[in-house]
Amino acid sequence: MQDFVQHLINGISLGSIYALIALGYTMVYGILKMINFAHSDVYMVGAFASYYVARAFGIEAHPGVGTLAILLISSMVCCSLLGVVIERLAYRPLRNSPKLNILITAIGVSLFLEYGSQVVFGADPKVFPEVMKDFVIFSFGNVELKSFDVTVLGVSILAMIGLQFLIYKTKVGKAMRAVSSNASVASLMGVNPDKIIAFTFIVGSALAGVGSVLVGMKYPKIDPLMGMMIGMKAFVAAVLGGIGNVRGAVLGALIMGLSEEMVVAYMSSTYRDALAFSILIAILIFKPAGLLGKYSVEKV
């Protein structure tokens, strides 16, 4: 039982990291109907950005909440910039071309970032600086609540509440929802879709930046291909919850994180990657629109 609670805590902590990345996939899909394969690499660049910021300012010597805040902000800024640049240079010229071309471009951008950063940063893994001390806040029998898990959970919940506020309470959020439901009608109502799409990329990439620092803190090994697997899982989480649906992405990510943790705990760790995709295929067969997604009938 105590083991189970411990796995529950780890699973939720893992799930909230997936959620941060899944949100980026789901927001871009919701608004552009494209799978942004480069998202996981934006996340990777964020991890490297905060690594170099920490090295440059020498703040790795003073782990603490201040360091975490600085790294979070710098990573968010770098990711947002990268997201906007990708959208502007690679996706915008293809706005009206067939879906497949956009998808291939996204794959191209993803490959470019992966191999470009192998050239720039080097292919060998780097050790992420110690952002803060990992200590046990609370323990009950064998169950330990560590400061890392609390931080991961706290920061991601904050980010998600912020996103929720942004999407449902602000004017720009309303515009985002409008563009996502029908871009051409939204533009008739005075919304500039290009600006809103760029803004979506900023927000989604910033969330990936938050995720990258949290992952770097928890699993301090970063390399240019680190985004691949976590990106796929976050994407599966987004599909699981119903792609295009913001709340669905969080729900899907939590399910993914928990089930992965449980499989590692009670079955075999080699199956953890297969699990994600088995869940995906099962959900697509029985509930193609995802858990919270709406299935729309195509009309002529």
Binding site: K33, I35, A90, P93, L94, S97, P98, K99, L100, N101, L103, I104, T105, I107, G108, V109, L111, F112, E114, Y115, G116, Q118, V119, M228, M232, F235, V236, V239, S268, T270, Y271, D273, A274, A276, F277, S278, L280, I281, L284, I285, P288, E298, V300
Partner: protein
């Protein structure tokens, strides 16, 4: 016999070209030619799904892996014909690989092809990864170590002839299918699924047929790959391999067989041709250039090299017309 005229002429021409490669080039180029033919098979088969039927499959490497592992396992463990007939045995194994991959394609395709849009891409992506992880966990297939010492052909020329045989089978099968009523069905699904359904075409059935045929040839490509490399492990069939196949189709032009072949040659040869650059600069810029080229092609020439045309269409359209005027 008339139906076999073109295939036989092409086979003869391909075999003559093989003689030239056999005596004119070193082993490195010869191996490259073999990989080009494997990629040709991959590109042509994927073109049937992505190009002609307009569906988007991202798990072609998974079918290739099934074929490769079947052939590898069969030729390592079974023997029912004398060794002198190894080419025939390999041919039978290749058919077996294709059938197994086609079965997998049927199982994956039937539920996912009912859906529209990007779902097939997502499901096939997941399928490719599941196959890879499953192979990692199967001990009788070597697990992460893979299978080594897979018997190959005795000479380059035999391997080459075998590859050409399969390429021509693949090419003319798809060619003839596209001229049949099924082919028209595939095209109609691509052009407008709703209209196709309204005219009484079983769209799901059409998509599944295209997908199964495509997986069959992907399995055969895997079988050839296993013979040529003599060693396979799960990391030969990653997501990147599937992406490579898609890139070949899109780069060549969706729905153009000659485009697929041309792109398969370019995509296989380009990274090798860029090797001197790596010696010069000391860093591996090949994949960076490759990915940049991909983005630029998509932005500047979104239809790919050939568009929807075949090389014979281009001949008719431009060369003859200019000759007449």
């Amino acid at each position: 016999m008339r139906a076999l005229k073109n295939p036989l002429i092409s086979l003869a021409a391909a075999l003559l070209f093989g003689v030239a490669v056999q005596f004119g080039f070193n082993e490195y180029i010869q191996l490259l030619v073999l990989f080009v033919s494997v990629n040709c098979l991959m590109a042509m088969s994927l073109n049937l799904v992505n190009g002609y039927t307009g569906q988007f499959s991202l798990g072609h490497a998974g079918f290739m892996a099934i074929g490769a592992y079947f052939t590898a396992y069969a030729s390592l463990h079974w023997s029912f014909l004398p060794p002198s007939l190894s080419a025939l045995t390999f041919f039978i194994y290749a058919i077996g690989s294709g059938l197994l991959a086609a079965l997998a394609g049927f199982l994956v395709g039937l539920p996912s092809l009912r859906l529209k849009g990007d779902y097939l891409a997502i499901v096939t992506l997941g399928f490719g990864e599941i196959i890879r992880v499953a192979l990692l966990n199967m001990d009788f297939l070597g697990g992460p170590r893979g299978l080594a010492n897979i018997p190959g052909f005795d000479s380059f020329y035999m391997s080459y002839a075998f590859a050409m045989l399969w390429i021509l089978i693949c090419f003319f099968t798809i060619w003839r299918v596209m001229k049949s009523s099924y082919g028209r069905g595939f095209l109609s699904v691509r052009e407008d699924e709703i209209a196709a359904e309204a005219t009484g075409i079983n769209t799901t059935g059409m998509k599944v047929r295209a997908f199964v045929l495509s997986s069959f040839f992907a399995g055969v490509a895997g079988a050839l790959f296993a013979h040529y490399t003599n060693f396979i492990n799960p990391s030969s069939f990653t997501f990147l391999q599937s992406v490579n196949a898609v890139i070949m189709v899109v780069l060549g032009g969706m729905g153009s067989m000659s485009g697929s072949i041309a792109a398969a040659i370019i995509v296989t040869v380009l990274p090798e041709a860029l090797r001197p650059l790596q010696d010069l600069t000391g860093i591996d810029l090949r994949m960076v250039i490759y990915s940049l080229a991909l983005i630029l092609v998509m932005i500047l020439r979104p239809k790919g090299i050939f568009g929807e045309l075949e090389i014979t269409d281009i001949w008719r359209k431009y060369v003859r017309r200019s000759a007449r005027s």
